[in-house]
Each structure stands twice: as structure tokens, then as C-alpha cells.
Amino acid sequence: MATESRTDPKGADAVSTLAARDEVAEARYHRVGFIVLFALLVVAPFVLYPVFLMKALCFALFACAFNLLLGFGGLLSFGHAMFLGMAGYVSAHAAKVWGAPPELAILAGTATATLLGVVAGFIAIRRQGIYFAMITLALAQMVFFFCLQAPFTGGEDGIQGVPRGVLFGVIPLTQSFAMYYTVLAIFAIGFFLIYRIIHSPFGQVLKAIRDNEPRAVSLGYRTERYKLAAFVMSAALAGLAGATKAIVFQLASLTDVHWGMSGEVVLMALVGGMGTVFGPVAGAFILVAMESYLTELSAWVTVVQGAIFVACVLAFRRGVIGELEAFLRRRRNRN
């Protein structure tokens, strides 16, 4: 990139001022987005059902973690359920059997997902594109069978009746408001962490690898390491979401490690907008809302999900937030 600016200083300057203007506008848009999002989330439990909100927030974090890998690393994982589900099982087991306080249970679940991410990532990053998706799917299926057979997961029943416990020994999480704001805090931490990661030098390299891997290699970056690091971070944050979810719903079950869950998180990112900051959050809220409306028609949920997949891929590839951003950019460029 540096060499290009030397060969054509004038053109590059014009491009860079435009890019700088874009960046400033984008930062402003993100700041406004943050304020609106979190203001809404703080008052939301007074208007909406807290259980619905907590479910949506757990999935939003999960989808953001997934989007970190797909939207910014260009790696489509079709096995992210393994991190969500496995972390959920460990967190539930720690809270129920070992009697760990919620913060430690969640930490244990997250740590397990991170470790699993190191192993799975090490195997999966050996291939790209479609193969990467198939490999992660197969690895997740392996974890699914492990969870089905391992004694501590409770097989088909899962781990039920997990105690929510007392956070830091002072805040009893049995009250739904205390639980809600804890989940919101965890979501906020995860969300800002992802925001920092994608805007750090590391994130820039990741995007460069996504756009043109051979070029990144030729510039001297060990792309494998970057991809593995992104994979592990994504796994850890997905694990954080899963571990929290298990504590909130007092349940860890096979649903969360099933391939259907891996597909659902792909759909959330797709509907909201892959590679956007707020897209996965929007996608998670849309899908969780849709599912709670359609609960009585369980078979139709799959059909509707499938139809949304098809519609998004054929006609709506940028997703809700992606379309919104494109609209804002068009308007800005006109002015």
C-alpha cells in the first residue's frame, strides 16, 4: 500500500482524504449507534419480557463472535455451536455439581470453549473456503456425539435445574432484573472487545487476509497465525455467550451443540449483515423474536428459517444493517 502512494501521490492523496472522511463519518455513525443501542437495552426490560431480552442478548453476543470470524476474517464456520454448547455444559456442570459461583462457572465455560477453539482452529485453518465450512461442521458433529455419550452432560435430558447463584457473593441472580443487567454487562464487554479487535492493527491485518491472502503473505504476515488467533477469539466469545446462556436459562442441552444451532448463527449474521458491527445484534433480535412468535409451529420454524436463508442469499445479501449503511453512505456521498 505504501508503494502505491509513492508512484501516484496525487491520486492516492485524494483517495486517502476520501477514506479519512469516510472513516470519520463511520466513527460518528458507530458512536451514535452505540448510544442508541445501549440506551434501548437499558430501558428495554421495563417494556419487554426480560427472558426474551436475555435470550436475544446471549444470541447477539454469539452472533457477534461468529461475525468476527466470518465478516472480518472471511472464514465461514459451520460449527460454532460446538463452542456455545460445550461452554454451556461446562458452565452448567460447574454451577450445579461443583457449586461454583456464577462468575466462575461462566469463566470455566469460556475457558473450555477457548481451549476447544485452539484445537478445532488448528485443524480447520489448514483449508479455506468451502472446505473450512465442511471441516468445522464435521468437528462440531464430533463434539455433538461426545456430548451425547459423555456421562456428565446428561444425554438427551441435558443438565437441568442449574442454580443461578449469587454474583460475586453479593448480587442474587434469581431476580430477573439483576440477571438481565448482568447479561447486558457481559454482552457489552464482549461487544466492545470485538469492536476493539476489528479496529486494531490486528483487525486491519485480518481484513487484509480476508480480501487477499496471497498478498498478505507476500507482505510478510504469517496469515495462519492471524487466522488461528481470530478463530480462538471467536470461539472464546461464543463460549462466553453459551456459558452465560446456561446460567440464565438454568439449562444446558443438546440443542445448543446441534448443527441446527450452527446454521442459526450463520442466519443471524446473514440477516443482520455480515461484516457489519451492529448487524449480528439486529439479526439475533429478529430471529429470536420470530422464533418466539412461531413456537407452536415448531416444524415451520425450520421452513421459515430456510426461506429466509434463500431470500437473503438471492436478494438481500447485505442484510438489514448492511443495507442501512449502504443507504447512509450513498446519502453522504451525495452531499
Binding site: 464435521a138 450463520v266 442469499v313
Partner: protein, 290 residues
């Protein structure tokens, strides 16, 4: 450890049966991927639909197994043409991942509709009379139907291999896989070839569904768990070679059968473990080229 020959042979036979399905399905995936650059996630659902169409033909129209063998691939191929013309053809210029996402969505739709219509419990499909019974080989009992499935799928696999590697039509196909615009410049109707290739792959999946109907219960979920294993098979074999898909499919089926005998706890996961090992040692797959 004492080895019981009939039990071992029984598991080997089941392994060969599973291997036939892995081979048939991974073959279809490889043919489709070669020309369309799309991983057909709907493959498992199309296999399931194939079994259901066979069930439908028998129970609603009174057309038996042999008719099903003939009609189901045709029905599924027409279905494939519709999908390719309506949807897939818009995706060839985009990132390969969109093809995966679209076909995944289609798989969800099919599975959901059939679950809604028929429930999750399986429907029985009665075996054709001519293929009932079996042979006593002395050391084991060989059911005729299972022998038939293994032989028939082997013949179809080798036939497909011959069609693609040894005929003129196949040479067009291979050339288009290498460089489609150039083949089109020579006057070959490549878009039509793409459509027919997809139809052929889907027809193979439907045929596998007919083979499966009398052995397994015909259920909406029969495809989804199978297709994930087939993906692992494809990763292990690499999608570069037709013969590679066939050998890997049958081989992994046998390995799975042996695992079921010697260490049953690992029988569900052994193929995934092998996939991980192969990726460590030879990331491009056993028969793949870089």
C-alpha cells in the same frame, strides 16, 4: 480378545452398506462441485426426498421398488433442474460461500416441510419380494437386499467414473471443470451442461434414497446426519478425483464398521477423527491436488 466371525462379518457388511451411501453421495457432491463450484448442502435432503418419493410411489400409486429405481432419479433430476435454473445460476459469480448458504436454506425448507407433513417418526418401506431372504455363506448370513445394494451402488459408481473419465461427454465435462469459458468458446453449451450436471448429481442422491428406503426408516431427518459424515468423507478424499470419492466412501464405511465391532463407543466419531488426522498430514485430502 476372542473374535466372533459372524458378528465381525455382520459389522463389515453394515460398513459396506454405509460405504455405498457415502460413495454415492460424495460422488454426486464431487461432480456438482467440479462444475458448479458449489457444495450442495441440499444433497442430504434430496436423498431423503428420494426415499419419500419411493414410499409415495409404492403406497399411493402402487408402483413398486423397480419403478422407484427408474422414476425417482428422474423426478429428483427435474427438481434439480428447477433449483439450478431458478436459484443457483444467479450465484456463480459470487463467493462460493453463498452457494453453501442457499443450499443449506433449501435443506432446511425440505426437512421442515416433510417433518410437518410426516412427523419425525420413520415410515416403513417394504422390501421387494425378489430381494427378500438371503444366502447362508457358512460363516455368516448374507441378506439378498444388502448384497444387491452394495453391488448396485458399486456398478453405478464405476459407471459414473467411466462416463466422466472415458467418454467424449465426460471429456467435455472435465474440460469445462478446468476452464468453462474456453469450452464455451468451442461451441459447447456450457450453461446447459451445468444444469444437467446438477440434475445428474441430484438424481444420484435420489437413487441413494431409494436404495436406503427398505433398509432404514424413511424419515425427514435421515439425510441431515448422513450429509455431515459425507462432508467429512469428501474432506478426507479431496474432491479432485471421481475414483478417489468412490474408494474413500467404501473404505471409510468399512473402517466405521470395524470400529463398531472393536470399539463401539467411537463408531460415531471415527470418521471425524480420521478427517482431523488427514488434515494434519495431508491437508489437500488423500486424492486431492493442491
Amino acid at each position: 480378545m476372542g473374535i466372533s466371525v459372524p458378528a465381525l462379518m455382520g459389522q463389515l457388511l453394515i460398513g459396506l452398506i454405509n460405504g455405498s451411501f457415502y460413495a454415492l453421495l460424495s460422488l454426486g457432491l464431487a461432480v456438482i462441485f467440479g462444475l458448479l463450484n458449489i457444495i450442495n448442502f441440499t444433497h442430504g435432503a434430496q436423498y431423503m426426498v428420494g426415499a419419500f418419493v419411493a414410499w409415495f410411489l409404492l403406497n399411493k400409486l402402487g408402483l413398486g421398488y423397480w419403478w422407484a429405481l427408474l422414476l425417482v432419479p428422474v423426478v429428483l433430476a427435474v427438481f434439480g433442474v428447477v433449483i439450478e435454473r431458478l436459484m443457483l445460476k444467479h450465484l456463480y459469480k459470487l463467493d462460493h460461500l453463498y452457494g453453501l448458504l442457499l443450499t443449506f436454506g433449501l435443506a432446511l425448507i425440505l426437512e421442515g416441510v416433510f417433518t410437518h407433513q410426516f412427523g419425525s417418526a420413520g415410515l416403513p418401506y417394504s422390501m421387494p419380494e425378489k430381494l427378500m431372504g438371503g444366502y447362508n455363506l457358512g460363516f455368516m448370513f448374507l441378506p439378498t437386499y444388502r448384497a444387491w445394494v452394495i453391488v448396485a451402488s458399486l456398478v453405478i459408481c464405476l459407471g459414473t467414473w467411466f462416463l466422466i473419465e472415458r467418454t467424449k461427454l465426460g471429456s467435455y465435462l472435465r474440460a469445462a471443470t478446468e476452464n468453462a469459458p474456453l469450452v464455451q468458446a468451442f461451441g459447447v453449451n456450457v450453461p446447459r451442461m451445468v444444469t444437467l450436471t446438477y440434475a445428474f448429481g441430484v438424481g444420484l442422491a435420489g437413487l441413494a434414497g431409494v436404495f436406503a428406503a427398505p433398509i432404514y426408516q424413511v424419515s425427514p431427518q435421515m439425510g441431515s446426519s448422513l450429509i455431515i459424515v459425507v462432508f467429512a468423507v469428501v474432506v478426507i478424499g479431496g474432491m479432485g478425483s471421481i475414483m478417489g470419492s468412490i474408494v474413500t466412501g467404501f473404505g471409510l464405511g468399512v473402517i466405521e464398521g470395524l470400529t463398531k465391532y472393536f470399539y463401539p463407543e467411537a463408531s460415531n466419531t471415527v470418521i471425524f477423527v480420521i478427517m482431523a488426522i488427514v488434515l494434519m498430514v495431508r491437508p489437500q485430502g488423500l486424492f486431492g491436488q493442491r
